[in-house]
């Protein structure tokens, strides 16, 4: 009786939140138009109420999962009594309906934070931002309630559930969707600010300063979400790939690229009051790509036309949401962008110009991913050709942009604002340039193959990391070594954030190139007791046993890894079977290292004895995700800069303290 009440309460809260969102969409907008303070003022309590109601609703659904209430259809389809508690909780968003509720929770959370922390925004701008934010919420409340209601009941509650897909029962994937959604939805704030600014017809430095933290936060979460997903694919799918250019991956990568561009152009708005209309456009596109990503993932249209046809209501509704918001925003942009007068002037050689180039490269590379992702659909609809666009296309068409970006990044990032000098900028970089080339040549000489990818990756990585170090070193001013180190510690957090993020980019480039170029793979059949060599390591298959897990049975192998006669470690790759879902999974065993990962997979027993075994040596694999973490860390550090803190106006006084 009690539990029943909680579910109904959740459902009711969701419907109520829908109503509040409609109210918040309409009233403050009219209030801002008529300059009516009390109408504008309802936006904040409404945003907070909306969030609390969705939180109640989300809590109720979580409660149903935790208590295994199989009278809810969603719980029955995605949970099981024996499932570990953490996966009962992550099961809430491990399905379509629940993940949309999570989306909504985060969307309203951002709205509520804008209401709580937006005290220093002008009243009208705040009212409009919150109204636009509410309009997005209205669209998705309608989507959830009409096509994806998580609170539907089963007439006869079954005794047990069908369990969550075993591959999703994994810590990496438990937290992958929340981070990704924080990123996707975080970009809705940039969108709301852009629309509000277009309605106001005014964009100034302050606008740039308000938009940047939200974009930065969203970008950090996207970075972490994408990295988690890639890491999960690496260890879970059993062959150690980390990126597949899959439509759903691209769906998250496109907003990442555009929001990275937006971050940089917002700096120009904030510091130099230039590139205003372009920045507005990027803010619209960034959220547009988030919506597109949601459409791709939720409708299944790109993975299979049939998946789309199975449930056209969902796909069509998201497509309508996408068309209305993107179409409306772009129309508004076309009408109003002309009035965004930019002020700052700058010479062709300047930080501003470098950031324009950054934007060109990031935006075009995003376009490449976009066209590659939708091309199979276009080719089928317009030209009747059923074809695929896979990794070879993206590697050929996308990589050059990243190479050029990495080449110009160190120079662009130390050019002076307004009017820079190329010779002055390149001088401190020269030693790093020489070092990078030397490292590239060295790795070319040391490697066994003749591939250029590894050495180029080494050189580019070193160049970008070195450039970031040179930048931060230059900022420490003149004088002795110790003085400069001391001053480096007192540099603004934003400077350090920039350095970390750029270094992260260099590290990731290096990791990807090194792993792809120098990976060793070995596939063979081996008996228990056999010994074989892969690269500088030897392996022995010591034993294969059967073990029972909480909700699976597993075949576990003990494999020893040796180097120079010394045993390094024993790895235990598994082949699991989940009886409820009737699905096997491959659990690779990995010895993580800074220089290399050793990655082993156990296969099926062979007909004439022995087991199939795969061994990989993956050099510098962890640098890929290490670089992503460093980028995210850079974002966090920059967010903590007092200039960006939401009380920026009141913090201004402390900024006046004599130059640091």
């Amino acid at each position: 009786m009690h539990v029943v009440m909680i579910t109904e309460l959740g459902h009711f809260a969701l419907i109520l939140a829908f109503g509040v969102a409609i109210f918040q969409m309409v009233i403050p907008m009219i209030g801002a138009h008529r300059n009516n303070p009390s109408w504008m003022a309802v936006a904040e309590p409404a945003a907070i109420t909306q969030f609390l109601l969705v939180a109640i609703s989300f809590g109720a659904l979580t409660w149903a999962f935790v208590t295994s209430d199989f009278s809810l259809q969603l719980v029955y389809a995605n949970s099981h009594m024996d499932k570990p508690m953490i996966y009962k909780i992550s099961g809430v968003w491990g399905n379509h309906e629940g993940s949309m509720l999570l989306w909504q929770l985060i969307l309203t959370l951002f709205g509520a934070s804008a209401a709580v922390f937006g005290g220093n925004l002008p009243d009208r701008l705040r009212a409009r931002v919150l109204a636009v934010q509410a309009s997005i919420a209205v669209a998705f409340f309608a989507f959830i309630l009409f096509t994806s209601n998580p609170f539907l009941r089963l007439a006869v509650p079954p005794l047990n559930g069908r369990d969550l897909n075993p591959l999703l029962q994994d810590p990496g994937l438990a937290f992958h969707p929340p981070f990704l959604y924080l990123g996707y939805v975080g970009l809705s704030m940039a969108f709301s600010f852009a629309i509000a600014a277009l309605i106001e017809g005014k964009v100034d430095a302050a606008w740039g300063r308000w938009v940047r933290p939200w974009t930065l936060a969203a970008w950090v979460f996207l970075t972490l979400g994408i990295a988690l997903g890639s890491w999960w694919a690496y260890y879970e799918l059993g062959w150690g790939g980390f990126w597949f250019w899959d439509p759903v991956e691209n769906a998250s990568f496109m907003p990442w690229l555009i929001s990275a561009a937006l971050l940089h152009s917002a700096i120009v708005v904030e510091k130099r009051e230039a590139l205003k209309s372009w920045t507005i456009l990027l803010a619209i596109l960034a959220f547009g790509f988030s919506l597109l990503g949601t459409f791709i993932v939720r409708s299944g249209v790109l993975t299979s036309v049939h998946a789309f046809a199975n449930d056209p209501a969902r796909g069509v509704l998201i497509l309508i949401i996408l068309a209305v918001f993107l179409g409306g925003a772009l129309t508004l942009f076309a009408v109003r962008a002309g009035s965004m007068e930019s002020k700052g002037v700058f010479s062709p050689v300047s930080r501003e110009s470098a950031l324009v180039l950054n934007n060109v490269l990031l935006a075009v590379s995003c376009f490449v991913v976009f066209i590659g992702t939708i091309w199979p659909l276009v080719a089928e609809m317009l030209f009747g050709r059923t074809l695929s666009v896979g990794p070879p296309f993206f590697e050929a068409a996308f990589t050059p942009f990243m190479v050029v970006l990495a080449l110009v990044l160190p120079i662009g990032s130390i050019l002076a604002w307004k009017r820079g000098s190329l010779s002055r900028a390149t001088k401190p970089l020269l030693p790093w340039f020489v070092l990078a080339i030397a490292l590239g040549l060295l790795s070319y000489a040391v490697q066994s193959g003749r591939s250029a990818m590894g050495p180029i990756g080494v050189a580019l990585g070193a160049w970008v990391v070195g450039g970031a170090l040179a930048d931060i070193w230059m900022r420490s001013g003149r004088g002795g070594w110790l003085d400069r180190l001391g001053r480096m510690r007192r540099l603004p957090r934003a400077d350090w954030g920039k350095a970390f993020a750029h270094m992260g980019m260099g590290v990731t480039i290096f990791g990807i190139a090194a792993m792809m170029a120098w990976e060793i793979e070995d596939i063979r059949v081996t008996d228990i007791g056999d010994r074989w060599d892969v690269g500088q390591f030897s392996f022995t298959l010591d034993d294969v046993r059967r073990v029972e897990g909480p909700n699976y049975v597993t075949t576990m192998a003990d494999m020893s890894v040796w180097r120079g006669g010394k045993q390094l470690t024993v790895l235990t790759p598994e082949k699991r079977f989940y009886p409820v879902a009737k699905m096997p999974t491959t659990e690779a065993a990995i010895r993580n290292g800074i220089l290399r990962d050793i990655y082993v997979v156990i296969g099926d027993p062979q007909v004439d004895g022995g087991y199939a075994v795969r061994v990989y040596v993956k050099p510098f694999a962890n640098w890929i995700w290490g670089g992503a973490l460093l980028m995210a860390l850079g974002g966090f550090v920059s967010l903590s800069d007092r200039r960006l803190r939401v009380g920026a106006a009141s913090a201004k006084k402390t900024n006046m303290v004599p130059a640091e």
């Binding site: 993975t303 998946a307 060109v360 030209f383 074809l387 896979g390």
Partner: protein
């Protein structure tokens, strides 16, 4: 949840991509086979190469490909054979013929367009600073007269 279909596909067959029994004795030939199969898509999977896939059909394709190479096909001939037999769909790197030209030329054209827009924007910004306003003019005069 993202890769669900792909995952189901992996699990539909014996769970182990390239089987040791498939590997050719000639390492040079095997390396070519691996390289080529990384550019061919498993027709029943979601965006997986036949090199990675565990589906039975992917295994079939791997074996057919190796047979062609053993029979003396060049890389191109082997790929053409696979396309003629399984359709354009298996090519992960779409050819640059017909409508696909749009796909391949999109990036360079877009880059040129973006560079052009960027350069015009930079040029437009690179104008002489605005003339002084009347107040500023007067203030300047005052200072100069002092």
């Amino acid at each position: 949840m993202k890769r669900l279909i792909l995952i189901l596909c992996i699990l539909s067959g014996p769970a182990f991509a390239v089987e040791p029994s498939e590997i050719l004795d000639d390492p040079a030939l095997e390396e070519r086979a691996r390289e080529l199969s990384q550019g061919l898509r498993c027709p029943v999977c979601q965006n997986e190469t036949i090199d990675e896939s565990n589906a039975t059909l992917a295994q079939e394709l791997r074996i057919v490909l190796r047979e062609r190479l053993v029979a003396g096909d060049t890389d191109e001939e082997a790929v053409t054979y696979m396309v003629s037999r399984y359709g354009e769909y298996v090519l992960l790197r779409p050819d640059a013929r017909g409508a696909n030209l749009i796909l391949w030329l999109a990036a360079p054209l877009m880059l040129l367009l973006a560079l052009w827009v960027g350069i015009t924007a930079i040029r437009r910004r690179n104008i002489a600073p605005e003339p002084l306003s009347q107040d500023e003019e007067e203030a300047l005069e005052k200072i100069l007269k002092q």
